[in-house]
C-alpha cells in the first residue's frame, strides 16, 4: 500500500489507463502544460504529449460534443469540466446527446466517455463555484454518476469508468484533493454501482457520499463516544444506478435512516434514497427518516454564512439525535 492523496490517485488512474490503452485521451480547459485548475493532470502532458492531453478553448459544449464524437468513433475520451457549476453551459450535450444517443439509435453505438468534474463547498468560492449538482445527472436516464470519497476508491473507480462502454459522470470534491489514503501498489478495479458500508453499527444508518462520508464517519465516532449511539455509515459511491439493496439491508438492521449530502435539499439524493426506503422497506423503519442537505439557498461567500448551512460533523450529530428522539 502507498499513502497518496486523492489528487494523486486520480492522476495515477489516468496515467495507468493512458499507458494501457492508447485510445484513452484527456480533453479540457488548462489540462495540458498547466496540469489542470486542480492540478490533477499535472505531468501527463509532458508524458503523453499534446495529442493525448488536449487543451481546448473555454467552450464547454465543444469539449463535451467533441468527446462524444470521438467516443462514437473508436476512442475513449476523458473530458474535464473544470467546475461542476459550468455544466450549465454544456448541459444539452450531456443530457440530450451523451446520455441518449445509444438509446435513440436503438443500441447501434457505445459511448465510452468519462466526464470528470469537481464540486463541493467549504472553500469560500461562492454560489457559482461550490455546488453539488450530482442530482441533476441522476435524473437523466443513460448516465452513470460516480462520486468517490477517498483515494483508493477514486483510483479504482476511475479506472473502471474509463473501461466502461457507457457515459460516466465522475464527480470529485475540491476539498478531498489533499486527503491522503492507502492505495494498493497493484492494479485495482473497483466496480461501479456498489455502495460500501464504511462503519458498521446497529442504531441508525447514515447514507452519504463524497466528502460528507468523512464528516459522517467522524460524527459516528463522536456519537458513540458521547452517547453510545452506534451508527452504520454507508458511502453510496455510485449515485446512479443507486445500490439500494445495501441501504435496505442496513435499514433492516438499524430501523433508522439519515441521509447526508452537500447538494440542495429539494429533489436531492437524500430525497431519492428516502423515497426508495419508504416505498420499498417502510416496515423496517421505526421512526421517520431525515435528510441533512444544503438548504435551498445559493451558496454564500462569507465563511460564517457558508459554514452556517454546509453540513458538517456537528450538524450530523444533531440530526442523528433528532431522528432518534422523535
Amino acid at each position: 500500500m502507498n499513502q497518496i492523496t486523492y489528487r494523486e490517485a486520480i492522476r495515477l488512474a489516468l496515467d495507468e489507463e493512458m499507458a494501457r490503452d492508447d485510445r484513452v485521451f484527456i480533453i479540457g480547459e488548462d489540462v495540458g502544460l498547466f496540469g489542470g485548475a486542480m492540478a490533477v493532470t499535472k505531468g501527463l502532458y509532458q508524458k503523453y504529449g499534446p495529442k493525448r492531453v488536449i487543451d481546448t478553448p473555454i467552450s464547454e459544449s465543444a469539449i463535451i460534443g467533441a468527446a462524444l464524437g470521438a467516443a462514437l468513433t473508436g476512442l475513449r475520451p476523458v473530458a474535464e469540466i473544470m467546475f461542476i457549476d459550468f455544466v450549465g453551459v454544456c448541459m444539452d450535450q450531456i443530457f440530450n446527446q451523451v446520455a441518449k444517443v445509444r438509446y435513440m439509435l436503438g443500441g447501434q453505438v457505445e459511448v465510452p466517455l468519462v466526464i470528470r468534474t469537481q464540486g463541493g463547498a467549504g472553500k469560500g468560492y461562492a454560489a457559482q463555484h461550490s455546488q453539488s449538482l450530482e442530482a441533476w445527472f441522476c435524473h437523466i436516464p443513460g448516465l452513470k454518476v460516480v462520486m468517490p470519497s477517498n483515494p483508493r476508491d477514486a483510483r479504482g473507480l476511475l479506472k473502471s469508468a474509463i473501461r466502461e462502454p457507457n457515459p460516466i459522470i465522475f464527480i470529485e470534491h475540491k476539498l478531498l484533493y489533499n486527503e491522503k489514503g492507502e492505495v494498493p501498489e497493484e492494479e485495482e478495479l473497483i466496480p461501479i454501482g456498489k455502495a460500501k458500508v464504511k462503519r458498521e453499527g446497529k442504531d441508525l444508518t447514515i447514507a452519504s457520499h463524497s466528502r460528507q462520508v468523512l464528516f459522517s464517519l467522524a460524527a459516528a465516532e463522536k456519537l458513540y463516544q458521547d452517547y453510545r449511539i452506534d451508527c452504520e455509515v454507508i458511502d453510496l459511491v455510485t449515485l446512479s444506478p443507486l445500490d439500494e439493496e445495501t441501504v435496505f439491508n442496513s435499514v433492516r438492521k438499524t430501523k433508522h435512516l439519515l441521509t447526508v449530502e452537500e447538494g440542495y435539499e429539494n429533489c436531492g439524493i437524500g430525497a431519492e434514497v428516502i423515497s426508495r426506503v419508504t416505498t420499498k422497506a417502510f416496515d423496517y423503519l421505526a421512526r421517520p427518516p431525515l435528510r441533512l442537505a444544503f438548504p435551498n439557498c445559493p451558496i454564500p461567500f462569507s465563511k460564517v454564512l457558508e459554514s452556517a448551512v454546509l453540513p458538517d460533523e456537528k450538524k450530523i450529530v444533531e440530526a442523528v439525535r433528532k431522528v432518534l428522539s422523535y
Binding site: G69, T73, Y103, G106, Q108, R163
Partner: protein
C-alpha cells in the same frame, strides 16, 4: 460532370424526393405517429452532391431534417421507413423515429432534435480521424438557424485552432421554422461567419445541381487534403413547411412558386436529356427502380412488428466489459 455521374446523382436526388413524398402521404394518412416529419423536398441537391464525394467510412452528423442525408450516405429505404413508422425493424428499433434516424454502418452518427447540437459531435469525429491517423473526414449538415447557436461558434473555433478535417455544410433553406433568416442574421451570406475563425468558405446556389456538385467536389477534396475545416453554404429552399403539418402562413404562395421553378430534381432531369444527351428511357428505368424500392420499403415497414413493450428498457446501457 460525366454522364455516369449525372445518372448516379439523379438517382440519389430522386430517391430522396420520392422517399419524402411518400413520408408526406403517410403522415397525412395517419401512418406516421408523433411529430410531423421534417421533409427535405427542395433541398435534395445538397445531400446528394456532398455525399457523392464521401467514402463509406467518412462521418456525417445530421439534423432534424435528416432523411435526405441518411439516404444519400447509403441507408436502406426499408429500414428507414420502418423506423419512421416506429417498428422494431427500423434502424433504431423504433426508439428514435424520424428525428433521430441513422444508419451508423454508413458513417451516419445521427440526426438530431436539437438545433446546432450535432456540430461539436462532428468536430469530435474529425478529431478522432486525426487521432487515429486516417484520411477520413467528418461532415456536419446544419440549417441556417443553427448558425446563431453557440455550438456553431464553439465548433468553428475549435475546428480552426485544432485543424480538424471538418466540412461544415450550412443548408440555408431561408427559414428557421417560421422566422426568415434575414431577420435573425445580419450578414447577407451565412458563410461570412467563417471569416472570424479564419476558415475558408463559400456560398453556392443549392438549387443548381451542377454548381452544387462541383462545389461539393472542391470542398470535400479541400478538407480531405488540407486536414482543415471548411464552411460551405448552400442557398436552397424547403418546398414544404417546417414539418408536414405546417401551413406556411409566414410566406406567400408566390414566393414558393418562384422557388419551385428552380426545382433541382425536375430541372436536372431536363438537363440530363438536353445537355447530357441521356436517353429519357434510361431515366425512366432509374425512376421505376426507385418506385419499386419504395413499394418494397412500404411493404416491409407495414408488415414489420412494433417493438415489444417488454423491451422498452433495452439498450439504455451497453453491457459492462462488452467492448472493453
Amino acid at each position: 460532370m460525366e454522364v455516369k455521374e449525372a445518372l448516379l446523382l439523379y438517382r440519389s436526388m430522386y430517391r430522396i424526393r420520392r422517399f419524402e413524398e411518400t413520408c408526406y402521404e403517410l403522415y397525412l394518412s395517419g401512418k406516421i405517429p408523433g411529430m410531423s416529419p421534417h421533409l427535405y423536398i427542395g433541398e435534395e441537391a445538397v445531400a446528394a452532391s456532398v455525399c457523392f464525394f464521401l467514402n463509406q467510412d467518412d462521418y456525417i452528423v445530421s439534423t432534424h431534417r435528416g432523411h435526405g442525408h441518411c439516404l444519400a450516405k447509403g441507408a436502406k429505404m426499408d429500414r428507414m421507413m420502418a423506423e419512421i413508422m416506429g417498428k422494431e425493424t427500423g434502424y433504431c428499433r423504433g426508439r428514435g423515429g424520424s428525428m433521430h434516424i441513422a444508419d451508423v454502418t454508413t458513417g451516419n452518427l445521427g440526426a438530431n432534435g436539437i438545433v446546432g447540437a450535432g456540430l461539436p459531435i462532428a468536430a469530435g469525429a474529425a478529431l478522432s480521424a486525426v487521432y487515429r491517423g486516417t484520411d477520413q473526414i467528418a461532415v456536419c449538415f446544419f440549417g441556417d438557424a443553427a448558425i446563431n447557436q453557440g455550438t456553431f461558434h464553439e465548433t468553428a473555433n475549435l475546428a480552426a485552432v485544432m485543424n480538424l478535417p471538418l466540412l461544415l455544410v450550412c443548408e440555408n433553406n431561408q427559414y428557421g421554422l417560421s422566422t426568415p433568416i434575414k431577420k435573425t442574421c445580419p450578414t447577407l451570406r451565412l458563410s461570412d461567419k467563417a471569416c472570424g475563425y479564419g476558415i475558408e468558405h463559400q456560398t453556392v446556389d443549392g438549387m443548381d445541381v451542377e454548381v452544387s456538385f462541383s462545389a461539393a467536389k472542391e470542398v470535400v477534396t479541400y478538407v480531405r487534403k488540407m486536414r482543415k475545416p471548411y464552411l460551405i453554404e448552400f442557398v436552397t429552399y424547403r418546398f414544404l413547411g417546417h414539418g408536414a403539418s405546417d401551413n406556411r402562413s409566414y410566406r406567400t404562395r408566390e414566393e414558393e412558386a418562384e422557388w419551385r421553378k428552380r426545382c433541382p430534381v425536375k430541372n436536372f432531369r431536363e438537363k440530363m436529356v438536353l445537355h447530357y444527351r441521356i436517353d429519357p428511357k434510361e431515366i425512366d428505368t432509374i425512376e421505376k427502380e426507385i418506385e419499386s424500392e419504395i413499394s418494397q420499403a412500404l411493404t416491409f415497414a407495414e408488415e414489420s412488428p412494433y417493438p415489444s413493450p417488454q423491451t422498452v428498457m433495452e439498450n439504455l446501457f451497453a453491457a459492462t466489459g462488452g467492448s472493453e
